[in-house]
Symmetry: none
């Protein structure tokens, strides 16, 4: 039985793969999403266009892979100091800081655009990029729930979205500054919703 068989991954050039992902991220930072084209990526990476199309479905998939690689590099786990507020500060602050930086958030912006255009990609983004972080926060909140720091009737899926949603909203629609104070305020507000009075 001959397999339907796309390209053979064992023969894939790791060198090209890295060059493509690097080129994509660089171009995003340097010139922005509208100038990010497959041709530009291929040229910058010193790679044929076909090599991109052979392994990715489009530029959204390339960016997703680039960020997946980066995400794997950092620790996806949550700290647990015992104090849920402290731990949430620790996770939200750097996220806000990244979104506040136009250069660093260029990839997020690009991926959001692709996500809004492509349903299949959206699911990949959710499962491969967002889920790990959301689950880590959820786990931490569950622990807090067991420690009676979070009301028992709080739906934890909604809880994590209550933390990340306002932040992304403000980022997307530029309704206000993405400062550290803002990050802390969001955490405080969310914790109030979870039944924790401010310290």
């Amino acid at each position: 039985m001959p397999s339907p068989s796309g390209p053979d991954p064992t023969r894939r050039s790791e060198r090209s793969r890295r060059a493509i992902l690097t080129a994509a991220v660089e171009l995003l930072g340097e010139t922005g999403y509208n100038e990010l084209t497959i041709e530009a990526i291929a040229a910058r990476a010193g790679v044929g266009k076909q090599t991109i199309y052979r392994w990715w479905s489009g530029k959204g998939a390339v960016i997703l892979d680039a960020l997946s690689d980066a995400a794997l590099a950092v620790d996806a786990s949550m700290p647990d100091t015992g104090d849920i507020r402290t731990d949430l500060y620790a996770i939200i602050r750097p996220t806000v800081a990244e979104l506040a930086d136009p250069r660093l958030s260029a990839t997020s912006r690009a991926l959001s655009i692709e996500t809004l255009s492509d349903e299949a990609l959206a699911e990949q983004v959710r499962d491969r990029l967002l889920r790990p972080q959301l689950d880590a926060v959820k786990d931490r909140l569950r622990a807090a729930q067991l420690a009676d720091q979070v009301r028992a009737d709080v739906d934890l899926d909604q809880a994590v979205e209550l933390l990340f949603g306002p932040m992304y909203y403000r980022w997307m629609f530029r309704t206000g500054p993405l400062s550290q104070e803002y990050a802390d305020d969001v955490v405080d507000l969310a914790l109030a919703a979870f039944g924790i009075a401010r310290a």
Copy 2:
């Protein structure tokens, strides 16, 4: 001071303007954002491309105008039954419903993409489309604050983003269903954050 001049708005064809905005919205609903091209809009509207470029900077601006027109048509004010929870349900439920409908949310999707690609447009979207609604909700919350239904120390800008943020996050990243129950839960969670116990 030499005026920048540009085309003379008094000679603008209202007929063409309406045809273009209508065509843009129709096409978005029928074929989606990636297939929405200036050429298609012009063809559908029975208009020369130049007539679009003369008055708008690109398709983002066209969509923005189309939605601004539509937004002006509907009442941007909030209900005020005296009960803040009831009133928030009334505003959040239809918003969630609209986002849940692929056809109705096509324009939101398109505008979000443009917003993420174009800083100048983002500000227009914020000021002309979002602000009126956000301000209306904010006003309603301020009244609730005066009626001691919302804690006095709650920052109202953050408050409205706490309501809308999670909803848009779930819409963009498809992290869960956009049901009426969800809409109500978001309101309940936010009200808890604002210091209102569940009924």
Copy 3:
């Protein structure tokens, strides 16, 4: 019986007419045929486009009028010194000189292009610009025929074309220099054909 009546020529602005013809000739000299557009003529002349279309059928007609004006200014008659060779030199030399000058011949070039594209215009060009000169030369040749300086069996229509044809051919196809010597040689060759031995 109401006349079909186009525009009323008595109300025509002579000022605009001259400005248009002048602008057309200037533009031809400065930028060449490909840049000669109705819009450019109108802008240069400080005239509305409609004023051009009201009085001319297109740019070919404008150029034709411009040259007709110029042609009327110069004397269309032939000299008659009694010596046909001398007289032909006198008529051919300046014609060659004009064709040799890129600036002066820009209008001829433009008109030739229009002539090749538009049959109706071609007839106008022939009758209003060429015919007078051709007829003048023909008349002079007829006189020479009577004076036995030209063979009686020479068809005079062919004779004049034998004089002008080679010149225009060389001008169009750049097969050789358009010098005064060349002009004289053409005359000599033609006269040989007409039965006149070189002096």
Copy 4:
């Protein structure tokens, strides 16, 4: 020395090249020069516009190539029966016939227009299309000169233009019919100029 490079001719699609040249000639015959557009050629040939622009500078260059191809196919040589008049009849008659046919002369008309608009193209037309024929006639005249059928002092470059010039003049300016009699008369007149009495 950095090579100017441009596209690699070894990878050029012969299929597309032929389709483009064929389409151009067909369209010229069917619709005329003003309706001959790059877009129409591309559409008819089933080719992307870029494929035309990659290899040609514009429609003039395409037509030139199309005719060069056709010219190579026919024999560019002159007959030599020993009698120069007979041989010139043989070459001039079909040329006049072609110019007299609106369909067949469409390409000549188009090329003449381009020649008048574009100096660089004019030289190509002269060297690649006209020269071979002019040279062939010139060679034949030279042989006639050696055989004392043409006066020794006749400049052969001028001689060939004396043959072709009047014909093109009459074609361009429509000063008379392009019949076979006319063709013969031109030859007879030219031969008289060359010192050959009519038979």
